[in-house]
Amino acid sequence: MFLHNLKYEIKLVLRAKSFIIWLMLFPIILGTLFKVAFGSIYQNETFDTIPVAVVKISENEVFDEMLTALTTGEQPALKAISEEEAKAKEMLFDGDVKGILYVGKTVELSVSGRGMTQTILQEIVGRCRVYETVIRDTMATDPSSLEAVIKELSTEVDACREVPVTQGNPDVYVQYFYNLIAMVAICGCNTGLHVSIDNQANQSVVGARKNCSGTPKSINLTAGLIGSCISQGVSMIFCVTFLRFVLQVNFGGNLLLLYLCSVMAGCLGVAMGFFIGSVGRARFEVKVAIAMSISMVLCFMSGLMMGNIKGILAETAPWANRINPVAIISDSFYCLNIYSDYRRFLTKVLGMGIYIVIFTILGVLFARRKKYASI
């Protein structure tokens, strides 16, 4: 009886259109889009030669020398074009140059926006300033050691040693993929919703028919839930496999645990849907809308749309991250990636487990009713 039910539950879920769309197409399309959008984020950091216009107000030998150093060599930092101020401004607005250097006693910089190139320009000019100051100080106090000072200044110093924070992948954009997996998992509530709808006589005709049958409701519900969890688990494995091996997203951490964790997350989605479906008598469409709205808000709060929202919540309302099931899911992936010991990861997994148990128990409490006031 149970196995028969289970077989058909799995068949039903795998054949449902919403399953294909939400749990298969959704991660493929969004995952690919994420990959495309984030995959090239660091490409922008390659330092290309920046064109600048130089407007001379008065002579500044030290700067001239440095400018020569910056504009020559194999991959020069700057490409300087000497111009009149008016022409320089025109070039700036047309985008031909990224900034204007006004060279007088001191050097001033004018840029047209607040992008990265502008910041780099600012840093380059800043370095020149320091150089200039040290050389001026040397000339003023002990001109004889100028050579030694310049040598010291131009010696490559590696004073700051970087200590790696994690063995995992520190790329912040991975968390968008964590959230994508969490979203796919929580979309399992669609599947869970069907379990309760299909087993309640006052929610669907199929539910009424099942209630008249010789199979106890407990068996129907258990088979439904386990079947949904299996189907959801398959889609989670598919999703992680696609992200990891097709899109080559580096999740860091133990891949096997990642798979297990995502399957568990899928079960959490199913349990949540089952709970929502069991409570109240709203129409099926309304319940879908409720489930989807709740899921989207939880995903938003977990940082699906904006990565830093979780950090802000951690500061302003730390409880929000602790109780948000989607945040718990994505945090568990994070812990797996970042921390070398599993203490935190296990806490998150435990949190998921608690949610699964609570949602299932509440769902069963609401759905176990045998007789209905009206159908």
Binding site: M1, S204, V206, R209, S213, G214, P216, K370, K371, Y372
Partner: protein, 316 residues
Amino acid sequence: MKPTVVKIDNLVKRYGELVALDHFSLEIKEGEIFGLLGPNGSGKTTTINCLLSLLAYDKGEIEVFGREMTPTCYDIKSEIGVIMQNVAVLDELSVRENIDYFCGLYITDKEKRKACVEEAIRFVGLEDFVNFRPAKLSGGLLRRLNIACGIAHKPKLIILDEPTVAVDPQSRNRILEGIQELNRNGATVIYTSHYMEEVEQICTRIAIMDKGRKIAEGTKEELKGMIRNTESVSIEILELPGEIKEKITHLPHVYETEYDGTKLTVRCSGGKHNLIRILAVLQEAELGFGRVYSELPTLNDVFLEITGTALRDSKE
């Protein structure tokens, strides 16, 4: 004396202010095809849902196969087959899978179930559509699938809740014949409908419901015997003087005449040769007439006479 299969005693069901079932009682014996006849909203489906323990009711007792019916009486439920008013099948499964799925809720043995499923498919004539999804089936075929899902496990008690709504005459006949065959094979059948012709055609005993109450019960002959009308004679006639109509009214056994300018309807209660006597009066007055026909009373006449409204008109 055959054993009682279903016994409903003093059932009361309220939806807020509305009394859906008002002290409704019923007893159905083994081997019957029992018809629950009544207009829409008379409480037929509510009765069925209470009987199946789906609906909570306010008062009364329900026994099935001699035992009190509760939601957890799975052994009793295993012997019941239900064909809902709405088609209750799963869109994602094919015809065969649907029947197998629902049959599997009753029969665990795989081989036995397979045989049952094949038999059910043959029984409803869906052999050519076994791999179709429900969305691809026509209305009539869908109804047949609905029936197959309900009867595949060979239940002893079959409950059909208006199974022929929106079905073409061909499919309807097939369904009705099928029900009779199931009955011949030993199943007790409860059949609800607001089509009196269907009920008249297949049911061995009938209860007429209105406004949640049972207003009459018996075989169709018994029911018809409850009313005065035994024969209605209709004569197409274009001219009928008042005194002739009066004369006909005073013929023996005639208790009512009605003339609408083209057709004379004479209702008789008992007696023989009523038609001959009426025609003799017309011939004597040298009045020409067209088509003449005589009808025996229908369940509609029964309903009409008991409630004062025609079955088809009320609450439709």
